[in-house]
């Protein structure tokens, strides 16, 4: 089914249809991840692949137009190249271990240690969270920094001049009474759900990345109904910038504090008398940092895109 969707994306010329299919594709791959036992990944993919990325593409399309031109000149060559590469890769797969076998090399190196020891060393049930936040804390720190940098990049490309625009997107939403009221009812539970995901990440699927995206989704929903300007009065972009940096700094400072307490950078065991409690505190705080950064960057990116859009409307009128 995934493959069918992908083919559909290739064939479709109307870019909106492409975006719709991308959404379906995201849902499908997320379901696949659930089947493969990767619930945390499915969580993230559902929020990102099926929610945020089609949204951003739509906003882009609103600015650049939706029709694609026919372009057949290089197709034959491209098809050849793709077929050859694909054939080579398939030959390569014959050397790969069998699907689902427990003896594959990937399962014999460090993973058993994580599965057997993390319960005793970190003390939280969700192994993914403990690997993410504790064993590979350095890595995750890097990822958060990457997201922060991407946020800065988008900001510098689409710098939003704080000119008070009189034509916000919200004009169209005034007569959508049903939609407005329903979304007003729904937004608080969404934000609450985000917080639940944030703090429940130790025990079930969830964590900072997912919670950040959900929180951003709630604010984006609000923005879509009430316009960028109104939303900026609630969460201004200056606050967002500070928050994005604050998340990264929070993460880093946890590392520094553990160094000051005599451990290594990001070694949470020294944060409290009992190493397990220390790990708990450390993971909670850095997940919070991750969540804040992700949410702030996502909303920031959305503001940038939507702000461009309302500026363009003004330019046209």
């Amino acid at each position: 089914m995934l493959f069918a969707t992908a083919i559909g994306i290739v064939l479709s010329r109307d870019l909106i249809a492409v975006v719709m299919l991308t959404g379906i594709y995201g849902f499908l791959s997320a379901s696949f991840f659930v089947l493969m036992d990767a619930v945390d990944v499915a969580f993230t993919e559902a929020a990102v692949g099926a929610g945020i990325s089609p949204l951003l593409m739509l906003l882009t399309l609103a600015m650049v137009g939706r029709k694609e031109q026919a372009n057949r000149s290089r197709n034959f060559f491209a098809l050849m190249l793709v077929t050859i590469t694909g054939a080579l890769l398939i030959i390569g797969t014959f050397g790969m271990p069998e699907f689902g076998s427990a003896n594959a090399p990937a399962h014999t190196h460090v993973a058993p240690r994580y599965i057997e020891q993390s319960g005793a060393e970190i003390g939280i049930p969700n192994i993914v969270t403990s690997v993410l936040a504790s064993y590979r804390g350095f890595d995750t720190f890097g990822e958060v920094a990457v997201i922060f940098t991407a946020g800065i990049g988008v900001l510098s490309l689409l710098m939003l001049k704080p000119a008070p625009s009189q034509v916000p997107l919200s004009n169209g939403a005034r007569h959508h009474t049903v939609l407005r009221i329903v979304s007003k009812i729904l937004i608080p539970p969404i934000l609450l759900f985000a917080l639940y995901v944030q703090f429940h990440g130790d025990y079930g699927p969830g964590g900072g990345f997912q919670a950040g995206v959900i929180f951003a989704a709630g604010i984006i929903l609000y923005t879509m109904f009430f316009g960028v300007d109104v939303a900026q009065q609630v969460v201004s972009s200056a606050v967002l910038r500070v928050l994005a940096a604050f998340g990264v700094l929070l993460y880093g400072s946890v590392g520094l504090v553990s160094m000051l307490n005599g451990g290594e950078f990001l070694n949470y065991s020294v944060l409290a008398e009992n190493p397990l409690t220390g790990q708990h505190i450390g993971i909670l705080v850095i997940e919070l940092g991750v969540g804040i950064t992700v949410a702030a960057v996502m909303v920031m990116i959305f503001y940038c895109f939507a702000g461009q859009q309302s500026k363009q409307v003004e330019a046209e009128e």
Binding site: Y25, T60, Q69, Y114, I115
Partner: protein
């Protein structure tokens, strides 16, 4: 036959990857190229996740009643990769918007024409 049954996940990955690759090299539209890039990315995610699956295993959340877990390590890697992926996608789309502003089009061929003519 056993080979078919035991390696089909890799073939799905290869097929998806090639579709994404095809979109990136053959299509002139920049937004569509980004979609293709996303498909390519997802195929890599699927490769990792399916490598982490163990038959009869369950999701890696500790529970007394379960003894076999799937490998949590690929999950961690892909989790962060997805979020980084959306960040880069956003950056790419922002670039597309700027290109559209500067050139008035997002078709690769037209952009090249304009570059050559001036």
């Amino acid at each position: 036959m056993t080979l078919l049954m035991s390696h089909y996940n890799y073939w799905i990955v290869v097929a998806l990857m090639m579709v994404g690759f095809f979109i990136v090299i053959a299509q002139g539209n920049l937004v569509k190229k980004i979609v293709g890039l996303n498909i390519f990315q997802t195929s890599v995610f699927i490769l990792y996740i399916s490598a982490g699956k163990i038959h009869g295993g369950s999701a890696p959340i500790l529970n007394d009643s379960i003894s076999v877990y799937s490998n949590p390590l690929p999950h961690v890697l892909i989790l962060t990769a997805i979020v980084v992926g959306i960040a880069t996608t956003a950056l790419g789309l922002a670039l597309v918007i700027r290109i559209n502003k500067a050139y008035g089009t997002i078709e690769e061929s037209e952009i090249q024409q304009r570059d050559h003519s001036c």
